[in-house]
Symmetry: C2
Subunit: 271 residues, 2 copies
DNA sequence: CCCCCGCGTTCCGGAAAGCGGAACGCCTGT
DNA sequence: ACAGGCGTTCCGCTTTCCGGAACGCGGGGG
């Protein structure tokens, strides 16, 4: 089912050892970390092979990262991502002062619509979801393969791109990859959709990333320099007939109200 | 109220530039990251001052970490923790195959007791909570200052230390710091409590970390080498009278059942 | 309005640090 | 028992990185 939705794969991992920057050791250390995005456990030999560096170098990198707490040793001498990364990651999100502000509105919206509600921000040309409240009764916290989306095929990405011409350029340069038969891959059509998004104040994505699933998104804005500027987006995702069918007006209304509420609360929180 | 509960502060940050390891640049890069545990935004000058390194060095470190995505540039030329850290952190927790397995049981337990339920693991001599379901109706996701606890004063830490003599040694070496008038700081009494924890199969902490709040914890075990070995713990935290008063037997029973269920599910998941 | 201070960044030479190749134990699977 | 693979260590050469000083800029005070 979700075999189609392979994660977009990080840029330039697995290729040559990396180059374009000072501090070569730090760059390779980051590249080593990146190796663990794909595999849960790695040893020095695997890492050395993937990055094209000497085994001894890989071993030192792993050891250094482990003493720093970014990696942990598993019993068998291999390594995995360390829990200190979890702490740092939580701090990174906390400091956006976004999740805490948005959670109440997200909970209410989920209750109102009985659908999954997501809070997404932009990272590069991808959308990263920093919080999600699941629709169904039970908590199935979102798994890694659904934590990041290409911006062009998600409603969240569109609502953010609609107000950012530079981002649109970057997205088009990267190319509109097709994920389903419905994915919009024509640049002209994509720009039309963005224009429509600007007019409406919300965006939709009809089964453009995963068959059967659609989403709507509304921007969370922050007033910068007099004009409201989107910094994140709230989105509702669900089975197409449930979110884009007869209930669509209700979904849109609830979504826009929730996004407006979060925007106001965020404005207040950033005193 | 929570002024007492200062986070335990990471080891060896803010001192000399770090030393005991090969790969000096990587070590200092990690030290640079650590600087951001305390402050949300930092520039080259501040970092250089904190670590006792040259300003130029700090600048290169920041730039390298930023190109790696571990840091992000804020508008004014300063830096903050990057969202890639959030991704790595989520991956690190996902790969424990713990949170997903535990969430259903945690939700049920919260419904049953109407109290906050936590899932904690050990990192060094601290307890790190990787998931928490809040008691009250609404989601106030746990803030950074309550995401990490010293192991000696928390029920979770005791349930984990009860089965790990080496950990007890480490905890005692570090010292039993006092947080409230009720914190157990006598090593002998601490060992007695651990013995009692071993007998009972669960641990308690009566206002030993924050006045008014107490907790109970039960171990999540994994059979390794024939014997069950605790790898995490479920805990219930609430106002003392509500969790250690007349309801205590019910809390203990629910907690133990939930922990047993998670242990069984975890055993099954690690096929 | 201009100046000055402080910041982040860049440049450069000396020198220490890290890279790679090969050798060493250890565990596993046969 | 043996052999293959792993993570780790050692060592010399060379590369890369550190620190100090200079640069450009932006903001706040005179």
């Amino acid at each position: 089912m979700s075999v189609l939705s392979l994660p977009p794969l990080d840029l330039d991992t697995g290729g040559p050892p990396e180059d374009d920057s000072p501090l070569r050791s730090v760059s390779t250390a980051v590249a080593v970390l990146d190796c663990f995005a794909d595999e849960a456990e790695l040893g020095a030999t695997r890492v050395a092979a993937r990055l094209g560096i000497a085994k001894s170098t890989a071993c030192r990198m792993l050891a250094a990262l482990a003493t720093g707490g970014l990696l942990e040793r598993t019993g068998s001498g291999r390594y995995r991502l360390g829990l200190r990364l979890f702490e740092y990651g939580q701090l990174a999100v906390d400091r956006l002062m976004l999740r805490d502000v948005a959670l109440p509105a997200m909970g209410d919206l989920r209750e109102l619509l009985r659908e999954t509600v997501q809070l997404g921000v932009l990272v590069g040309t991808d959308v990263l979801y920093v919080e999600r409240t699941e629709a169904a009764g039970m908590n199935v916290r979102f798994r890694s393969e659904h934590r990041r989306n290409p911006a062009h095929s998600s409603s969240t990405g569109r609502v953010l791109a609609a107000a950012d011409p530079a981002l649109v350029t970057a997205i088009l340069e990267r190319g509109l990859r097709r994920y389903t038969p419905f994915t919009v891959v024509d640049p002209l059509r994509y720009r039309q959709i963005l224009a429509q998004t600007r007019e409406q104040g919300y965006a939709t994505s009809r089964e453009e990333f995963e068959p059967g699933w659609s989403s709507l998104a509304a921007p969370i804005t922050l007033t910068r320099g007099g004009r409201p500027h989107p910094v994140a987006a709230l989105s509702v995702v669900g089975v197409t007939s449930r979110v884009l069918g007869p209930r669509k007006p209700a979904v849109v209304q609830g979504l826009r109200r929730a996004a407006a509420r979060v925007s106001a609360d965020l404005e207040r929180a950033r005193s």
